[in-house]
Amino acid sequence: MNAIAPVGLSVPHDSATKHVAGQAVYIDDMAEPPGLLHAFLGLSPHAHARILSIDLSAVLAMPGVVAAMTARDVPGVNDVGPAFLGDPIFADGLVEYHGQSMFAVAATSMALAREAASRAVVTYEILPPVLTIDEALAAQSFVLPTQTMRRGDADAALAAAPLRLSGRIDVGGQEHFYLEGQVAMAIPGEDGDMLVHSSTQHPTEVQHLVARALKLSDHSVVCETRRMGGGFGGKESQASGIAATAALLAQKTGRPVKHRLDRDDDMILTGKRHHCRIDYDVGFDKDGRILGIVFAQAIGCGFSPDLSAAIADRAMFHADNAYYLDHVRIVSYRCKTNTVSNTAFRGFGGPQGMVGIEHVVDEIARFLRIDPLTVRKRNFYGKREHNVTPYGMTVEDNIIAELTAELERDAGYAIRRKAVKIFNAEQPWIKRGLALTPVKFGISFTLTHMNQAGALVHVYTDGSVALNHGGTEMGQGLYLKVAQIVAAEFGIGLDRVKITATTTGKVPNTSPTAASSGTDLNGKAAQLAARAIKQRMAAVAATAFDVPASSVVFAGGRVAGGGQDMGFGELAKLAHRSRVQLSSTGYYSTPKIYYDTTTKQGRPFYYFAYGAALSEVEVDTLTGEYRLRRVDILHDAGQSLNPAIDLGQIEGGFVQGMGWLTTEELWWDDKGHLRTHAPSTYKIPACGDVPAAFNVALFKAGRNKEDVVYRSKAVGEPPLMLGIAVFHALRDAIAACGDGWTVPRLDAPATAERVLMAIETLRARAAEPNARAAE
């Protein structure tokens, strides 16, 4: 491996051999420190109630219980709201959703802590809950003010348009279902310091919020994260409350405390993808070109703001997807309900925005009886005109037309469209559907200041390298990609680069690993750190070889110049003896981006990532059940740093997006209790839901126009939205039960139930005229 530059190669995940051997250590697997206590939360049984009293005497009386605490016992700020206050660690006088944390118990085992927690006596005054988006809109119940983004005169364009449609789609939320539930272990140190091992995408925020809750300075808290068993956005802000509870109990008892949520509690009390209701009114011409459009996006935020401002913003930013919307108005309602506070989830509002516009384009096509792909293509952003987004950003890197054309051709869209038609004509009970949908996704945190990263690189005198940066590893291969970049910089093998756990003690004030930005930001920062050291080492080598530093080459684990060479380790030793620093930080901030939140104009994104998916489904029209028969995906990862890792992100993202829109249904009862809180009732895709014909390719012409590390592109979130193709293929199959075009209202997720009910609606409509004729 030493001889090969490791960038661009399909190197296996750095932990792969540990994963398969069961040797990769997650927080719950760590050696337990002596005296460890286990935390358990007391949860609200009501969706909305005033807490009149909490009596924990029976809890504390139970043998094995060491401590219990409520809001009153928090020395600092009892809140882990990431952007706005409003997420109490322990409910203080008021519970606002079923499952909200009210108190915590620390005991010598989790079973004891659970049993003790059930002995608390709490009295309530029950208040009426607001449970649905409808109820929130009616009550004008919002977590944040309503926002509007506009360009041109949408009302005038609608009034003048020759054709007009309006409608609505409800889109369900989504549980992250990371396989490793939320977990943290807090270990008190001297001077009241606290070390927190947290399964978090945002160690810095855990550090800061724990410090605030414990009434400590930031420097007294260290948060460390080696790896997560999946994150998907669910461990961005949601990890803080878990970590804070552990740290508070550790501070109170002076003993280490582990806090691990079991699956049911995890699903009940931590946030999910925002569900939403999208209303639209669109004007278009006879060719299906959109002339004017108004969207009302009612976003279900739950009881607190959490990250909903930025999430709802991103839904607005992606209300266009890949389509030029000339006269447009997007109104965003951030609805407050007495349900769990919804949070970041892969795509971060973008998927919801995209589902809205894809629905509109599909409806236009079906109304006009034109193949939906044709209408999609007619509305694509142009390269020189029709290339400015509703928020005033010029789309400079548009490749959606050529990418779509390539997929359309290579996946045989036209011939398969005919085949589906023939099949449907012959088969009365099983119907097939086909859909090709595009993705254009903006890359950068829309909150501009978050687009920064730091790294710390050490070269030791044996030539081995230690790498640390602010990014976290949740399975996406970030650690590996950054290590590949650093190894390439030094011209050494990957085995010479030690990847070390993310810790706030090494790189401070970091941004979350989110917004697909992990590699773009941390890769650049690490590259800059490595370059700084390399430059110093090159100067040492230049002196040794008596050549100009610019002619020194680092490759194959050796350093050469002027016909001489030495091992990378030898040079490190020489540099050390020459009193040259072999350690450096690196710091990167994304250029070019700015955004005015008042005018809703600017360049919030450094660039866009593109992709497209073609899905073919088969529906049992007697039960509504369906199978995905085949999927073809072409996705733009720029110049891929690691094609195997990128393919993994694309395939996994697609399947997760498909799950969101098909079988993953969050179901609350009329009291606001989530009744799908374990995999027995909440159904993420299983192995058999993925077709054998799962053809995924990287867009070969892909190359980031912007100066992103090695011209790669972010690939974490964009592929999730490729799953929208499955939803539209289902719509296509449903249409085949009627006139081939019309689809009755189909909300997401398109469960077998929703699919069957849509088909039944069509069949009932078809039966009506016949019934009349028979009379």
Binding site: I430, L622, T623, R627, L628, E651, A692
Partner: protein, 469 residues
């Protein structure tokens, strides 16, 4: 009576005393043994992160969920975890290497479970894609989208893996009887011993596979003071055909019963293959599925349609009860204290008998059904001579659709007759709305499944089934 549990953990013999009989194997591995490769993902046997392999005396390798496996089930078995697969020199097992080579792990948390399912698959015949899906249906991965895992499985499971060298499983004698933490368990070795234990302990909870009883402990946090485990009841595990009747011992697992049921009733086989997962079917029993009287059990509708009978036993007294008469009300059966199901008898039926069975759920694999329906009918000259229909998900218990049967019997097997049957059904059932399905959907599906049965048994050529892709 023996109060020590004997098993082998990987290569090492283990003899444990003072074992809490309702401690799960997952708790034991992660706690006492600190073998943390086996993960807790859901504690209900639905995600597979805790998959381990049990090897019995015959050398059969079975993937099971450690999270709902109680300790007494280990008695006389070998337990293999992800830590036990590598060679002595540390060389990864071929299934582990394949998972690395195919980039089949991302976050890695589900990976040990997949590795163990693949290890069990690896010891058998070469699987095709369908067989891989079936073997992995009980392992959820949220990162990869499964494609690389399936590729790894197809590449490494070549069907010619040498059987792993059997480690002698410790010999056991005497009935295992554990008592710890105020909890007591018995593992009788014959149906006679079982009958006697139950006479002595009429309030005992019988644990067959534990795939449901496990959840009472891990999810409902109930205490089961006295448990009786069926793992060692050797004479209740047989599945045989005798005089036109399929006799299934009440502790035979789904996997044990599958071949003979599938041979006689292909649709029943298809349904059984969709019950839980391979891990669940390796433990769960048809006897348990009947006895727990869930309204949404997947085998009772088929067994009702097939006119199954149960041999119930109390002490040395046996009685035979038709499954029709077994359910008293929601979660209640006619079983008396100390009485247990010893055997399930399913008549193979006369020649020309038609059987169709359908399971409808949100997800195809490893899901609990919204509606399950089974039809057994005999046609003569296009006339319905007799028909038995069983439904799950339509009432508080699995039920026969008597009114529908009456509406159809003696009539020509035509679409018009089907419509009459559908109308009769609408009146007969008032299903529930819950997180799995609305009452309205259940009604429509139930109606449509009758139509589907008609389409499939009246010589229509059109496709009525989805083809797994």
């Amino acid at each position: 009576m023996r109060d020590t549990l004997h098993f082998r953990l990987g290569p090492e013999p283990r003899t444990l005393r003072h074992v809490d009989p309702t401690m799960t194997v997952l708790e034991y591995l992660r706690g006492a043994e600190r073998l943390c490769g086996t993960k807790e993902g859901c504690a209900e046997g639905d995600c597979g992160a805790c998959t381990v392999v049990l090897v019995d005396r015959q050398g059969h390798h079975r993937a099971v969920n450690a999270c709902v496996l109680f300790m007494p089930a280990l008695d006389g078995q070998q337990l293999l975890t992800v830590e036990h697969l590598a060679a002595a020199d540390g060389t990864p097992h071929p299934v582990q290497q394949a998972m690395v080579d195919y980039h089949a792990s991302q976050c890695g948390f589900c990976t040990p479970g997949f590795v163990m399912s693949l290890y069990a698959l690896h010891t058998g015949v070469k699987p095709d894609r369908t067989a891989v899906n079936e073997a992995l249906a009980g392992n959820l991965c949220r990162c990869t989208g499964y494609r690389p895992i399936v590729d790894a499985a197809l590449a490494v499971c070549t069907g010619d893996a040498p059987p792993p060298p059997p480690d002698a499983v410790p010999a056991t004698d005497g009935m295992l009887a554990l008592a710890h933490n105020g909890r007591q368990s018995f593992s009788p070795r014959s149906s006679g011993e079982l009958a006697r234990v139950l006479l002595d302990h009429p309030q005992a909870t019988i644990v067959a596979g534990g795939t449901d009883a496990g959840l009472w402990v891990t999810k409902q946090h109930k205490t089961l003071p006295v448990t009786v485990f069926l793992d060692s009841v050797g004479d209740m595990a047989d599945v045989q055909l005798a005089g036109g009747v399929i006799q299934i011992g009440a502790r035979a697992t789904y996997q044990d019963a599958l071949p003979v049921l599938e041979a006689h009733f292909p649709d029943f086989g298809t349904t059984i293959r969709r019950i839980g997962s391979r891990q669940i079917r390796n433990r769960g029993t048809i006897g348990g599925n009947i006895a727990n009287a869930s309204p949404i059990g997947d085998t009772p509708p088929a067994l009702l349609a097939l006119d199954a009978a149960l041999v119930l036993r109390r002490g040395d007294t046996r009685r035979t009860v038709k499954l029709d008469d077994f359910y008293a009300s929601y979660r209640k059966t006619v079983l008396k204290p100390s009485e247990f199901i010893e055997r399930i008898d399913i008549p193979v039926g006369a020649d020309g008998m038609l059987f169709r069975c359908y399971k409808v759920s949100k997800r195809f694999d490893q899901d609990i059904s919204a509606v399950c329906a089974a039809f057994r009918l005999r046609l003569q000259d296009g006339i319905v001579r007799d028909i038995r229909i069983g439904f799950g998900g339509m009432a508080a218990t699995p039920v026969r659709a008597h009114t529908m049967e009456a509406a159809l019997t003696g009539r020509p097997w035509t679409e018009a007759t089907v419509r009459m049957g559908q109308a009769a059904m609408d009146e007969a059932f008032s299903p529930l709305s819950d997180m799995r399905a609305s009452a309205a959907y259940r009604r429509v599906v139930a109606r449509n499944l009758l139509l589907k049965c008609f389409l499939e048994t009246s010589g229509k050529a059109a496709a009525t089934r989805l083809v797994p892709a």
